[in-house]
C-alpha cells in the first residue's frame, strides 16, 4: 500500500457509529481498515472520542490498513472457473449466459481442455507458492454436458489442481457420483424450491420439463459425502419458501448451501428480482430457522453466503467467497475460461464480450488477460472511490457486489450493486449475532483454525 494511506489510517483513525438494531449494543467502525467494535449504545460518544478502545485501535490501525490493502490489491489468482461447454440442458430464467450460447453453443474438445489445463497449470506454478494447489472449478453452462472431456481432465491433472464442479444435477448419475467422489471433487448443485412447483418457476428444461425430482435424487446420492453444497437463487418466485428450503436442506443433510440474491446482470434476471426489504425478511427468517434446527439437532446447515459476511467481519482475510470485497475476486483471486478459450474476470461476464481479455492460447495467455483493458474496469472497481459506497461505514464488509450488475443494471462500474440495502441488513444481523455470542453457530467448526487473533476485547 502507499505510505500515504498507511499514514492516514494510523494518524487519525476515526470510528463511525452504526445502529445495528440491538437492544444493548451499537457498532463503531473504521471503514478504511474494516475495523469494528460493539459498544454500549449509551456510551457511543465516549468510546469514539477517547479511551481504551480507541487507544488500542490506534496501535493497530496501520497494520490493519496494510492487511486490508493486501487483500484488496495484492492478490494473485489461485483459482480458475472452467466452462467446458457453452451448452446447458436447462433454460433458467435468470441465467447470466445468453440463451443462444446455452441452446446452440459448442463444447470445448477434450484435447483443447487438456491443453488448456496444461497452460493453466504452468501459469499457476509461476505465481503460487510451491506445495499449494490452485483450484479449478468446472462451471456453467452445464459442464456435465461435456462429461467425457471433464472427467478425462480431472484424471489427467489430479496432482496439479483441487477440482470442483458446479452442476444443475440433472446428469449426475451413479457413475458420475462415484467418479467425482472417489477423486474428492467438490460438488455444487442448484435447487430453487422445496417442491417442484416452486423450482419449476425458474429452473426447467428447454421444453418446460421439471427437473426438481432429479436434483433431489442427486442430493440423496451425495448424502454423507464431505464436500458438496446446494445453491438456491432467491427470486420473487421462491422468496416465501426460503424457510422450507433450509428445512429441506437440513433434512437432506446438505452440509452447505447458499441462499443467493439473483444476479441481475442480464434482463431476464431483473424480472424476478425481489425488493431488498422482502429479501431481508425472508432471508433472516430462513437464517433463524437454520439456527433453531442446529439447536434442535446439533447439526449445522451452513449458509455460506451469510457465513462469509460473518467471517468478513471477524477475519477479513479468511473470507472464502470473493464477491463481497472491493475490488471483487474477479480477475484478481480467480478468472474464468470460456469454452472458446476466452478469458474473463469471472463467469458472470462471459455473456458480455467487452470483458473478454483475450484467449488463453494466444500470446500472453493469462498474464495478458489480467493486465488487459477488458479486465481493468473490474479489477479497479473500488468502493472507496464512488458514492454512496465511499461514505458507507460497512463498505469493506459488503464490497457492493456485483460489478457485472453495476455495469449492466445500474449503468456503470461506479454504481452500487443490485442489493445495497439487503447487504446493510445482513451486516447488522451478523453484528447482532456477534453481540449475542451466537456467531459461531453460523460458521463451521474450526473455521478459524488457521488464523491468528490480532485484536480482542470482550
Amino acid at each position: 500500500m502507499t505510505q500515504t494511506c498507511a499514514s492516514r489510517a494510523a494518524a487519525r483513525p476515526a470510528l463511525i457509529p452504526v445502529d445495528i438494531g440491538h437492544a444493548v449494543y451499537a457498532a463503531v467502525t473504521d471503514p478504511d481498515t474494516a475495523f469494528w467494535a460493539l459498544v454500549d449504545k449509551t456510551r457511543i460518544q465516549e468510546e469514539v472520542s477517547a479511551g481504551p478502545l480507541l487507544n488500542s485501535y490506534r496501535e493497530k490501525a496501520e497494520s490493519f490498513a496494510k492487511e486490508l490493502h493486501a487483500l484488496r490489491f495484492e492478490l494473485t489468482p489461485s483459482g480458475v472457473y472452467l466452462n467446458p461447454t457453452e451448452r446447458c440442458n436447462l433454460n433458467c430464467t435468470y441465467c447470466y449466459l445468453p440463451g443462444e450460447q446455452r441452446s446452440k453453443g459448442s463444447h470445448m474438445s477434450q484435447d483443447k481442455l487438456i491443453a488448456s489445463l496444461a497452460r493453466l497449470r504452468d501459469y499457476f506454478r509461476s505465481v503460487m507458492p510451491e506445495g499449494r494447489k490452485p483450484r479449478a472449478i468446472f462451471h456453467g453452462a452445464e459442464p456435465l454436458m461435456n462429461k467425457a472431456a471433464v472427467f478425462a481432465a480431472i484424471d489427467a491433472f489430479a496432482d496439479d489442481f483441487a477440482f470442483g464442479l458446479q452442476t444443475n444435477g440433472t446428469l449426475l448419475d451413479d457413475e458420475a457420483v462415484a467418479f467425482l467422489t472417489s477423486r474428492n471433487v467438490s460438488i455444487g448443485l442448484s435447487l430453487d424450491g422445496p417442491v417442484a412447483g416452486i423450482t419449476d418457476a425458474t429452473r426447467q428444461t428447454w421444453s418446460g420439463r421439471s427437473v426438481h425430482q432429479q436434483v433431489l435424487a442427486a442430493m440423496d446420492k451425495l448424502k454423507g459425502y464431505g464436500s458438496w453444497s446446494v445453491i438456491t437463487t432467491c427470486t420473487t418466485e421462491n422468496l416465501p419458501y426460503l424457510t422450507q428450503m433450509v428445512e429441506l436442506f437440513h433434512a437432506k443433510e446438505v452440509p452447505t448451501c447458499m441462499l443467493n440474491t439473483v444476479r441481475c446482470t442480464l434482463p431476464g434476471a431483473r424480472g424476478v428480482k425481489p425488493a431488498d426489504a422482502d429479501m431481508a425478511k425472508a432471508f433472516f427468517a430462513a437464517m433463524d430457522r437454520t439456527h433453531a434446527l442446529y439447536r434442535e439437532t446439533g447439526r449445522k446447515l451452513m449458509v455460506a453466503n451469510f457465513a462469509n459476511i460473518v467471517i468478513g467481519i471477524l477475519a477479513p482475510t479468511a473470507r472464502r467467497l470473493m464477491c463481497d470485497i472491493s475490488p471483487c475476486g474477479g480477475g484478481r483471486a480467480f478468472f474464468a475460461l470460456a469454452a472458446d478459450g476466452g478469458l474473463y474476470p469471472c463467469s458472470e461476464f462471459i455473456g458480455l464480450p467487452r470483458f473478454n481479455g483475450g484467449n488463453l492460447h494466444a500470446a500472453g495467455g493469462v498474464e495478458a488477460a489480467l493486465t488487459s483493458e477488458a479486465f481493468r474496469p473490474v479489477i479497479t472497481r473500488n468502493v472507496d472511490q464512488f458514492s454512496p459506497c465511499n461514505g458507507c461505514a460497512i463498505r469493506h464488509f459488503c464490497g457492493s457486489p456485483c460489478p457485472a450488475e453495476a455495469a449492466e443494471m445500474n449503468g456503470g462500474m461506479d454504481k452500487i450493486g443490485a442489493f445495497c440495502d439487503f447487504y446493510k441488513e445482513q451486516v447488522n444481523y451478523a453484528l447482532r449475532l456477534i453481540a449475542d455470542g451466537k456467531a459461531n453457530d453460523y460458521l463451521w467448526d474450526g473455521w478459524d483454525d488457521d488464523t491468528e487473533t490480532t485484536f480482542l476485547m470482550q
Binding site: 449494543y25 469494528w36 460493539l38 459498544v39 449509551t42 456510551r43 465516549e46 468510546e47 479511551g51 481504551p52 478502545l53 488500542s56 492487511e67 493486501a70 492478490l75 489461485s78 472457473y81 494447489k133 483450484r135 456453467g140 483441487a162 470442483g164 458446479q166 474428492n184 467438490s186 455444487g188 464431505g226 453444497s229 445453491i231 452447505t256 447458499m258 455460506a304 453466503n305 457465513a307 462469509n308 477479513p316 482475510t317 479468511a318 472464502r320 467467497l321 470473493m322 464477491c323 471483487c328 475476486g329 483471486a333 463467469s347 458472470e348 456485483c402 463451521w444 473455521w447 478459524d448 488457521d450 488464523t451 491468528e452 487473533t453 490480532t454 485484536f455 480482542l456 476485547m457 470482550q458
Partner: protein, 57 residues
C-alpha cells in the same frame, strides 16, 4: 495481540449510593471487538461455494 478488558470510568460507573427511589442504572455492557488474520486464499463466488479450506485438499 491486543487484549483489553473494559473498565468503566469513575464518571460513568453505576452510582452505588443512589437512593431507593432513584431508577436503577444499567451496568455498562462490555465492549466487544475481535479481529483474526490469516493468509488469504478465498476464490469462491456466488456461483460456487467451497467454504472449508481443508475440503478440497
Amino acid at each position: 495481540m491486543t487484549q483489553i478488558h473494559n473498565v468503566p470510568s469513575s464518571a460513568s460507573a453505576p452510582n452505588t449510593t443512589a437512593t431507593a427511589t432513584a431508577p436503577q442504572e444499567q451496568p455498562i455492557a462490555p465492549t466487544i471487538a475481535v479481529r483474526k488474520s490469516c493468509n488469504p486464499d478465498g476464490i469462491g463466488l456466488s456461483h460456487y461455494v467451497l467454504m472449508d479450506k481443508k475440503a478440497a485438499k
